[in-house]
Symmetry: D4
Subunit: 225 residues, 8 copies
């Protein structure tokens, strides 16, 4: 369904052959299949099975989309994706690919750390101008960025903690706890859960897009009467 | 602002007199003041300061709203609040009061535990019929309910873990972790963070309501041309 | 003894040669030897030592049974095994093999996640019709399934948390805590402890089978008098 | 139902008046009401509401049973309750009262610590002679007792960790972990979860009693043919 | 000594009479005594023992200074104290009193939360103009403020986590971990350790003041030659 | 010194060449060198450097002793080493080698798990007959054994938790906590700290041996007078 | 028995009347009864029951000894007790009382913190001169003292972590972990386990005293031949 | 800037080519580039890209400095680096290289463990004679050393916990907690955060050096008037 959540194949602990098989069924049913957490081996076997031109591989997001040429549906939903550092990009990209497959236009603002707060403000202004329905903010280490973004925008912010950082609070733990303790209004997903963040943001953005359309249609209906 | 987040006074570690003073300023500025985590002493002193008829006390939510007669704004946003057991009601009610003060209509489905799954399905159908923009699901102990609700509705679900349960995983910990691990698409707030859950849900619901209105208005504009 | 717990060889941190040696003694004594947590190397060496036809290897359960042709004893006990997702199958299968070696008939209901709750109800009805003495429910991530099953069946349910899920509460931690906090009546074993779950379920199922037989025999005795 | 789990009122965070009201409904429906985790105030108000002779108060178990004179049903199930020290008795007694209300005969072996292992063996022999269907073993501090009991009896053992002990691993944590790590076959419930332990044991014991009866009846039926 | 750390009496777990006795010795030796973590009872007894005019009580810092009229030494060191919210003030004030007793001038910037980032920048500019040798930044909940301050000033920043916030990461835990994970250059002290933060800051500030003086003196010496 | 603690070379994170070099110095000074946590590579290079006959390699303990033919000193101290399962032997053996190098006679009782409590009692009787000055008890998983041994012997027992067991409380954690919570009188060392356990036991045993000798000598002295 | 461990009554969660009753039995059997963790109420009731002159109350150790005039046995064992700060004294004193009741002479070195390392060295020299068989070292916060003492003395050191310190690692946690990680040879007991520490030290000291006596006696025997 | 914090390239999760590229930009801008956490592959590729003579590789610190011949700036700041054992040297060296690149002279005191406290005192005297502005003290396992050093010197001490030690509190956890609980005045950085420790120390040392210079200059200015 348009606003519902996408089905995806989590390749992580499946053999390449199993993934190919499940993907075939899904493409047959839905025209497109999203596969997440793929390893290079998965990609190799998928390429052979489906042909390179039927396959969109995002190496940073570790995702593959298989399709029969049919483009992804477009819902009119707009999702912003913001990330703090290089290490946050895989999670951010996973969120972006998922939101895109769910029909959303995605707008990214990468590499605006807390260190570069002067770069953040203008970047956020550009993002706000696109009127995103929801914004995913990926951040590792001390996880400050979602708190700051949520204080500066109207759209609901989804905090996506990333498993960076060593020592106490490392591996995304400090980031997760800091987001749960945030003084701004934030909702969070689990560490590295780019899939959930992207799907949740798309769900919101798609509902907003649908409401806008409904508003227009209701008007027409009424006027038609 | 209409979709923005409400300012509230956290009474928890403030003296009754301090709360009265801050509330006075806020009422003067904004016509209404929301005070959360109030103790009976706070309520007593607030009643004396503002008069009982200027004061809405929700003893289960531990909130007080002070107003000068001006009603809360209405945005057209609709927020669902679902809870599993008696012990979850304070957090659920805190979320409800906040969403209401932020202009939303709130629809509650209380006391539908996992034990009573047969009661849950029809209750959720009624809730879905109200077309909520977002749904807060409060749950303690093993925190299953948000996962189940999110699998059955289209609206984004905010998991609100509640500090019930003794022993290992007690005090809301199992509930929080289970929501972070959920197989459904969920975003979560911290344990007992009814305020954040309500404000986040209202933010989404208000954006959806605003999109609908914008849809209607844009149509008019276009047609007007 | 018939209802007692099976002796098994935990291959995990033993050399293949040590495992062969212990297995030889056990087969000599008990006709059959159960070996758990075997690696492919263990299997290779065991095949050479005992001959492929004397050896039942379950690659998903990571178990090997060596026997001299003597079939496993049959007790009349019936054990149900339920699991939520693909990743839960190794633990579920380990439980199944152990229960089977302890003389029980096993009935499996795999791949009924919380997501697919509509598939769960009819599958559980079929399981209930087999009158299981005990049911092992394996579940990872948020570990909801045992709670739901226990609310729908009469037989005692053993919650078996599985080490799936990344981030906070990952590796089976959220699942374990959620089962300990369950609102349904549940007993649990440790994360990935398929062996213990299977042996515990068989112990119950075998006691029930023995009670039934005793009931019949007592009747005969009495009537014989 | 006979083998199903008992409904009980958890008094812990309810006002005495609420408890009285819920108990009234339950007695009307089911003749008996079990109330757990009662405070002295709860007891006082319950006495006034129902009359002292309608009320069985177990101060160590912190339970109250209200009844209209109807005795608890008897199922023929037998549950053993074993505990290590004085501090474990409240949890053990809570389990005992619950099993008893679920129709079981209960047999207790209290105050046999690991220190007094010489006292344990003969006590367990007496317990085994009663042929219990399941045994609850309550133990705090290092939680050794269930492991030892499970190694000496055939019946399934439910480990019930008790919140005793100070310092690292105190409050029942070491006991819970030790039971989860046990070398014997054990299933466990949460710390201080006497209610769950008792209900789980009764569920098993009642199934065994029912199987025995069914065995006798089936024989009769067959012979009747 | 001038740059060394101050001796203080931790009143926390001492009887009022013990505190009076130790304070008498200290005043006799050093003219002034600093007492921390005082309760109202401590203050009462101290007032009676030393007279109200010999006693400076800071109720928010929970400190008392006893003196014989001798003013605290002045070192020329300058310490900044920044805090985010009302709840952080006790820890911040404890740091301020300690730094002051160690001879430093203290400059405070309170109540500049992350929410109010627009208020923070001008406030920090004023603070920088005073040329502090070190800055203590107290912050609870998600502990963001020290990271931001350290990115904007030259002086070494001491992160002082404060035990605010409920739920996961509450009680100062998220704040501590976030500061340890900070992308800015920060050193931290333990949760609520205002005493250590103040003493550490003063140690740095006093060394800087001493270096300046030494610079002037060396010049004089050299020129004197 | 005779009762003092042995110097040893922890090979763990040193290159084979570094170990050889440090060992050379130590042998020159003390005639013997003890090297712990050696890998096969360390052993290879040590063999080449010192010659196979100068080297005692204990592959289970992962220790090497280098000597110039001089035998280890003999103190008369007696140390018992008890272990529960196969997986506990490396830690137990490390303790044994260290105690032996510190001059003690060592008496081992391996493979007496809690499961085999009937085997334990006679084995402990044999151990007691050797009059050990101290007993190291190595145990993993639920760590019960030291508690039981300490209840049955007079000598001080050193609990040595071993990093076995998977899931919650695995890796020696449950064992450590259970030993700290023990109802018997126990002192413990860290998980897998065979070196410390052996050295501590030897320290006690050597003091007892020395006291005995002193007793005899004092008597002589007195009588000589 | 002389070297065995003392029986004691843990008053903590027993009513004063229960304690009196158990104590009466113990005094009748053993002439003396040791009661630990007594509250002021316990003491009051014990005084009335036994008479003030039959009762030794140590308010800092929270212990009471009841006796019929019979003095505690003397074994010749010597136990040292060292503590760092005022807050460590209750645990240290509990250890001292227990060791004393077990027949040992006790030698205390209190109030030698790490801060006062210059005071520590001479104090330890005095302690060493008394030739203690074992030394209990109580330390809270960062728990350094046992490590340092163990590096300076020959006798086995028992680390006794004390529940002081706030924030991360507070309540004795850092102290316990630091002692488990110690570079010196140490064995530890649980946080605040003064009873265990004292009993363990006495066990060692008594074995040493007994060995000395045995040495003298053996000599006599031999000479007598 | 002179006192500000150095920019460095964290090679850890970057490809060698990415590192080369970023380094080129940095050298072009700032004459020198500091790269931390380099692997041997990084070094190989960097050598090829810049030429071996333009590259200072510190294999223990895992750092590389690239420069165009321009020497590092000299600020006059002096930083002491103290470490306890061999395993602490990588973290200590990382701190040293960073402080050096920030313009400081560095003075090292390595291998003075708590065991070798007699070696520590004279070594610290030598260090104090160099008048360091700040001292980094690296320590693993029980993390005692910073506490002791801070009690003996005037300069602010930065505790740098190192990820050594196995078992409970291993991997630097006990060290971190012990430093946070320290009785001396200490500030700490995260486990293995040599970079932060060095940069923080340099920040302090550079401020002190600058103050001295300012003192001299002010004098000149004043005299010039
Ligand atoms: N990267 C991901 N993280 C979390 N969940 C995912 C991810 N990719 C797919 N999923 C979801 O995980 C489930 C797949 O589980 P499985 O049946 O084990 O393949 C589906 O519900 C997917 O939508
Ligand atoms: N997969 C398993 N998980 C837990 N326990 C097992 C497993 N397989 C065998 N065991 C039990 O572990 C013990 C074997 O221990 P060991 O003496 O080390 O071989 C026996 O009591 C087995 O019944
Ligand atoms: N297996 C071991 N476990 C714990 N400590 C050890 C071990 N082997 C040697 N040691 C001690 O570790 C220290 C050696 O440290 P190092 O200077 O790094 O070689 C000495 O104090 C040894 O006595
Ligand atoms: N302060 C104490 N800490 C730990 N154990 C104690 C303490 N005092 C007494 N005990 C022991 O705890 C047991 C008493 O347990 P109980 O049967 O509950 O009275 C006996 O074995 C005592 O020797
Ligand atoms: Mg961040
Ligand atoms: Mg729930
Ligand atoms: Mg699940
Ligand atoms: Mg126990
Ligand atoms: Mg903050
Ligand atoms: Mg064990
Ligand atoms: Mg200490
Ligand atoms: Mg150290």
């Amino acid at each position: 369904s348009r606003t519902g959540v996408i089905e995806a194949i989590l390749a992580d602990c499946k053999s390449p052959d199993d993934v190919v098989e499940i993907a075939r069924v899904m493409v047959a049913e839905s025209k497109r299949a999203l596969i997440t957490r793929v390893s290079p081996q998965h990609v190799e076997v998928l390429k052979q099975a489906f042909g390179e031109d039927k396959l969109e591989w995002n190496s940073r997001a570790r995702t593959v989309v298989i399709h029969d040429g049919t483009p992804a549906p477009r819902t009119g939903g707009i999702v912003g994706i913001v990330s703090a550092g290089t290490a946050d990009i895989p999670a951010a990209e996973e969120a972006r690919v998922v939101a895109s497959e769910m029909g959303c236009e995605t707008v990214t603002v990468y590499d605006v750390g807390v260190a570069g707060i002067h770069r953040l403000i203008p970047a956020l202004h550009k993002l706000k101008a696109t009127k995103p329905g929801a914004i995913v903010v990926a951040a590792g280490r001390e996880g400050t960025l979602p708190t700051i973004v949520s204080g500066l925008v109207d759209a609901p912010v989804i905090g996506l903690p990333v498993s960076t950082g060593y020592g106490a609070g490392g591996g995304g733990k400090a980031a997760l706890l800091a987001m749960l303790q945030s003084c701004s209004t934030l909702a969070v997903v689990n560490i590295d859960a780019g899939f959930v963040a992207g799907a949740y943001a798309a769900r919101i953005a798609n509902m907003i897009a649908a409401a806008y359309t409904r508003g227009r249609e209701d008007r027409v209906e009424q006027e038609g009467k």
